[in-house]
Amino acid sequence: MSEISLVNVSKLYKNGFYAVKDCNVTIHDHEFFMIIGPSGCGKSTTLRMIAGLEKISSGELYIDGELSNMLEPQERNLAMVFQNYALYPHMTVFDNIAFSLKVRKLPKEEIERQVMSVADMLGISALLHRKPTALSGGQRQRVAIGSAIVRNARAFLMDEPLSNLDAKLRAEMRVELSRLHKKLNATMIYVTHDQVEAMTLADRIMVMKDGIVQQVAAPMELYRHPINQFVAGFIGSPEMNFIPVKSREDASGFSLIGKNLKVEADETIESAVHGDSHNETLQGNYAQKDLILGVRPEDFIPVSSYQAADFLFEPAVVENLGNDYLLHGYMVSAADPFGISRKKEKMIVISMKRNDTISDHDRIPMQIVTEHMQLFDPESGRNLLYPGTPADPETLATERRQA
């Protein structure tokens, strides 16, 4: 088991396109580490560089403190599960799982013992004599995972392993993978575009976009403190609502004002907008500028009076998910409760638990949970309320080299 560090790792194609640019991250021992991002963001390329299947254009890759850039895949002692499973079509399930052990010339009894124990763990003991073509998608998936974990590799790399399964099987395998990770206590690096997978499985998540690492953090940290608008929008389903606002200071205090919205803001927000945030990179005065308010669908609270409301919500579509409701609708100013709602505006989404009293025509007074609000700079997308300071890459690099 091992620690894997990437220092300023980049992948540059001949046409000058960066698939991955200056990726800096350390994956700790025993960690379930997820790389997530939209397609083409460089997440698979990053994984393949770790595996040795793609050459690293610049930067350093350390596996257990050893500079490994130029090691062949064979020399890295990693195991990988591929998106299409990459099972050897002419070999039986047993031979598929045993292949990497046979390569290592283990004694026959030992191979048999290990294959059996893995097959047992994954519930595929009955399939050992079948060929991959005779298996269902879920079974192939298990064989692929079995082939990877049978060997005592330094880390397990998984490239979108569940993306070819249907929704039900995927949910099942998620649980299975989580169980396996606990049991094997192994380092896992897992690439996915499915943020549900990432949120449920990961110890830490790295979000990428256009080859650039956006944020590396634990799931709830990402969820509650996204570094920018992209991460905020990518993590969480349904997506966070983004509402254009401006700040205003008057007799009643400091508040954020949108077309149909007025939210009282607390001191943290006030100081962030005024630029005296502790976050140095975000300093600057946003008092007169456009801002984007980010609110997750579950961070709305229906209130009983118009006076207490930040805005009125006019539902247009109700999605009944059983336990929850998703309400899609328009905002109406609480100051003008009978005004005409602007149907041309983007709808916002509100998630509610078992609310039986919602009808299509009601205008519901709503409050926003202030402590979960995010505030973004519309130009750079940066989150004014992000608590941390992005570290200087050079210091990080030095730290990693000393690991």
Partner: protein, 287 residues
């Protein structure tokens, strides 16, 4: 009025029922006249003694076949054909396989090389035979010059068959290259990636992944090659005329000689039927 419209609709019905067959008429006509009919006629002739014009004159039953299997010349011809086919198939498949493996990964100039490896399929057996004749010429041929030998290759029964087989193997290697290339291309690239992560080196990858990955197409290619090798004619006609002795008297050449030199059409027909049976068995093996 009513009457005529019903007639039109009847005609239309008849037309739409027969239309599918109309599209088959050209093919079926050609096949019937030049394949099925002569095929049955060949079978028919094989039971007869014929005159010089190829007319069936005397019914002899399986007499022609009996004679063939008792004639040492025909047995020799079968044996020569067998040896010939084995050499041809090995050579053509080996050449095709090497070419396909060399062109499996892209590198500068791959288009030129893959064209070169497929090129023999565009060359006629007669043209190739004439080139080989010069190459094997005892006094001026390049082969003797290179090897510092003085052998009359094609006049020597020890070499003639092998050399005609090498020529044929070369001719057939082009299409084999295409078959094997397609076979290699159909192997999923990621299993190589997985194998390299699993720790398997290039040699092991070749033995455990590439060769088994080719096995479906390998079988098909073998059968197609055997059938094609059985039908070699032009190169024998030009290089050796079946000789020296009967060293290169392949079945097809023997059919040609019996029919068009000795005018023993019945016997030649029986040989044709035997050739058909052999090829049919091989084809059925394929499915």
């Amino acid at each position: 009025m009513n009457h005529s419209s019903s007639r039109i609709s009847r005609i239309r019905n008849v037309f739409s029922a027969t239309e599918p067959y109309l599209y088959l008429v050209p093919s079926i006509l050609i096949f019937s006249i030049f394949l099925f009919w002569p095929f049955f006629k060949t079978i028919y002739l094989s039971f007869y003694k014929t005159n010089k014009l190829g007319q069936a004159k005397l019914f002899v039953g399986i007499g022609n076949y009996k004679e063939l299997f008792q004639s040492s010349a025909f047995i020799n011809s079968l044996y020569v054909t067998l040896v010939f086919v084995i050499i041809v198939v090995s050579i053509s498949m080996l050449l095709g396989l090497i070419g396909a493996i060399l062109c499996n990964k892209t590198f500068p100039g791959i288009r030129f090389f893959s064209t070169a490896y497929a090129l023999p399929m565009a060359i006629a057996s007669s043209s190739a035979a004439m080139i080989f004749r010069i190459m094997l010429h005892p006094s001026i041929g390049i082969v003797n010059k290179l090897l510092h030998l003085n052998i009359n290759w094609l006049a020597d029964p020890r070499y003639a068959l092998v050399l005609v087989a090498i020529l044929t193997g070369w001719l057939n290697s082009g299409i084999d290259f295409l078959y094997f290339s397609a076979g290699l291309a159909s192997i999923d690239e990621t299993i190589y990636e997985r194998a390299s992560v699993d720790g398997a080196g290039p040699v092991r990858q070749f033995v455990h992944l590439t060769l088994p990955g080719l096995s479906p197409i390998l079988f098909y290619t073998i059968v197609v090659n055997i059938i094609q090798a059985f039908q070699s004619f032009g190169q024998v006609k030009i290089l050796t005329q079946g000789g020296p002795g009967d060293a290169t008297n392949l079945i097809v050449y023997s059919i040609y000689r019996d029919a068009f030199f000795n005018y023993r059409f019945g016997s030649a027909a029986a040989e044709s039927v035997i050739l058909f049976v052999i090829i049919m068995c091989l084809t059925l093996l394929m499915f």
